[in-house]
């Protein structure tokens, strides 16, 4: 959780009306760049994350891999995922640092029903504000990367903040600072895209990885954590979705169909009100007091005159 006064806010979850001050100032977009080809799986970033965020070390599940635990947890935001991948009859050991991708179009923020529980800053950081979180868990199902995690005790959802508290003070995120091989980089989005591109080119031309490329999925307008992968055509080998998308429930349904439903409900209320005013009630018959004349009902007469 960050102090929203540190950065310029760009988007607020479930916020009716405009975002105060949005666009008044242009902030550089920040980006974390992860070169999976030089990661050695030392987990220094995991430890740095736990330390900086003051998380107690949690129990883990051993599942016959080098991975610390099966997935990120509410108090374990940074996890190196180990995958054993068969390629050309050989084994390739893929290590990828998994954490929040800080999407340009964040599914968690689209899905969130609580005003101000998720904030996206102009610099691209997507941060949860637990004070406003109602614990419904919609963000979990809105995320294409399975990142937000629920805490049973506090009934709130947590995830990587991209160390917004450090970045706000001009420091790099804790994981970046801890990396011993330099496979983690931090800077502006444009710089990181350029460095990642150069590295991918080098992998293709010098190291013999013809399919090397940069993972910055356009289906969610890019992310503020990007990777260079040995094989950009098969990101699922690293546990990354090839084409991450936000479920239609949180895009078309929530922002198009739902307001229409609400409008229909409002119109329904108006309809019954004006039905009462115009058509009138169904009274037990015969009415008391009786009509002026049963056979010379002026309304009835007029109705019969109509074609």
């Amino acid at each position: 959780m960050s102090n929203p006064q540190t950065f310029q806010i760009q988007e607020i979850s479930a916020h009716p009306g405009p975002v105060p001050g949005a666009g008044t100032q242009r902030a550089e977009e920040v980006c974390k760049y992860i070169d999976v080809t030089t990661c050695i799986g030392c987990k220094a970033c995991e430890v740095a994350c736990v330390e900086w965020n003051d998380h107690p070390f949690r129990e883990t599940t051993f599942d016959d891999t080098y991975q610390t635990m099966p997935s990120t947890e509410w108090n374990y935001w940074n996890l190196i995922k180990f995958a054993e991948d068969a390629r050309d009859g050989n084994l390739m050991w893929l290590m990828r640092k998994d954490q929040c991708m800080h999407c340009e179009d964040p599914g968690c923020l689209r899905a969130c029903p609580a005003d101000g529980a998720i904030i996206k800053y102009e610099n691209g950081i997507v941060d949860f504000q637990q004070d406003n979180c109602i614990g419904c868990g919609y963000c979990i199902s809105g995320c294409p990367f399975d990142i937000p995690k629920f805490n049973e005790k506090t009934k709130k959802v947590y995830k990587c903040t991209l160390c917004s508290d450090r970045v706000g003070q001009g420091l790099e995120p804790a994981c970046i600072k801890a990396c011993p091989t330099g496979c983690l980089h931090f800077g502006t989005k444009s710089d990181m895209v350029q460095i990642a591109g150069l590295r991918a080119k080098q992998l293709r031309e010098v190291s013999g990885f013809a399919d090397a490329g940069v993972y910055d999925p356009p289906s969610i307008k890019g992310t503020h954590v990007i990777y260079t992968l040995h094989d950009i055509n098969h990101p699922e080998r690293y546990g990354l979705p090839k084409n991450p998308v936000i479920p239609a429930s949180y895009t078309y349904w929530k922002w198009t169909a739902k307001p229409i439903g609400l409008l229909m409900a409002g119109l329904g209320l108006l309809a019954v009100f004006f039905h009462r005013v115009s058509v009138g009630p169904k009274l037990p018959q015969p009415e008391e007091p009786p009509l002026v004349s049963e056979h010379a009902d002026p309304v009835e007469a007029k109705r019969k005159e109509l074609p």
Binding site: A14, H15, P16, P113, A114, D115, A117, N132, C133, I134, G135, C136, G137, Y138, I140, S141, G142, C143, D146, K149, F150, K155, P247, A248, S249, Y250, W253, K258, P259, G261, L262, M264, A265, G268, L269, V272, H275, R276, V279, G280, P281, K282, L283, P284, Q285, P286, E288, P290, E294
Partner: protein, 268 residues
């Protein structure tokens, strides 16, 4: 199965009768016994609470209006599933209670076909075949059954959303909303019909009784079943009596006027 349900209901109704009371005055008919009324209001209260807390989460434009009613966003989210559960459990009893009278018949299909005439008040009294519940009420009942099942199913999935796959929650979210919108549409019509649209109806769910006049106007077949009299004949008889009463009153008033006029002439 239906006989065991009927036996169960009969026992429940008798037990409710021992605590509560159905008072029927002259010219009235008992429509809903204590047991039905208590169930109805349990379902209604739980439904309204679930509706308000649900709509707080439904739309960002309602969030700030409705969450304060329940003590803020987190508590609204915490309470909503419980309101829903009470609604569903209470409705199961009402479902068993009304299973028999809510059975669909050809009369209900014909009722739906003349729904335009119904909404524009074309007919003074309903056709003779309209029974205890009309087609519209039965549609609403079965819509609640359908929504209740959908609510429970998708609601449980979203309640325990951290143990089910994300896509299931995303689908449940839409289904839950659709069920809610269906229910809201029915709810608006239900309240309108039960109050402003049909005077004399609301008391059926508070005191449990309606007037005979109300019964032959809106549910002729039911009127016939409980009184043994034909609804249209009863209506026409009342019409004649009303005309007779009006004539009597008019004659009396004319007489009074004449009396007062002669009195006025004597004053000066």
């Amino acid at each position: 199965m239906s006989t065991s349900v009927e036996r169960f209901d009969e026992r429940a109704r008798l037990r409710a009768e021992r605590v509560g009371r159905d008072v029927v005055h002259r010219g009235e008919l008992l429509r809903h016994p204590v047991y039905t009324r208590v169930l109805h209001w349990l379902v209604a209260i739980a439904f309204v609470l679930a509706l308000l807390s649900g709509f707080a989460i439904y739309s960002p434009w309602l969030f700030h209006w409705l969450t304060p009613l329940f003590g803020g966003g987190p508590r609204t989210r915490l309470l909503h599933p419980w309101f829903g559960l009470v609604f569903d459990v209470a409705f199961v009893f009402q479902f068993l209670n009304w299973l028999v009278p809510m059975a669909w018949t050809g009369a209900d299909t014909r009722w739906l076909k003349r729904i335009r005439r119904y909404t524009t008040n074309e007919d003074k009294i309903e056709p003779a075949e309209v029974g205890f519940f009309n087609g519209g009420q039965k549609v609403y009942f079965w819509a609640i059954v359908l929504s209740g099942v959908l609510f429970l199913l998708t609601g449980l999935l979203m309640w325990f959303d951290h143990v089910v796959p994300a896509w299931i929650v995303a689908v449940s979210y839409v289904v839950h909303d659709l069920a809610a919108l269906l229910m809201l549409a029915g709810f608006i019509i239900h309240i309108y019909e039960g109050t402003a649209a049909m005077p004399g109806t609301f008391r059926a769910m508070t005191d449990g009784t309606v007037t005979e006049k109300w019964a032959w106007t809106h549910h002729p077949a039911w009127f016939r079943a409980v009184t043994g009299r034909d609804a249209r004949a009863a209506y026409e008889r009342e019409q004649r009596r009303q005309a007779e009463r009006a004539r009597t009153v008019e004659a009396w008033e004319r007489e009074q006027d004449a009396h007062e006029n002669t009195a006025d002439e004597r004053v000066p």
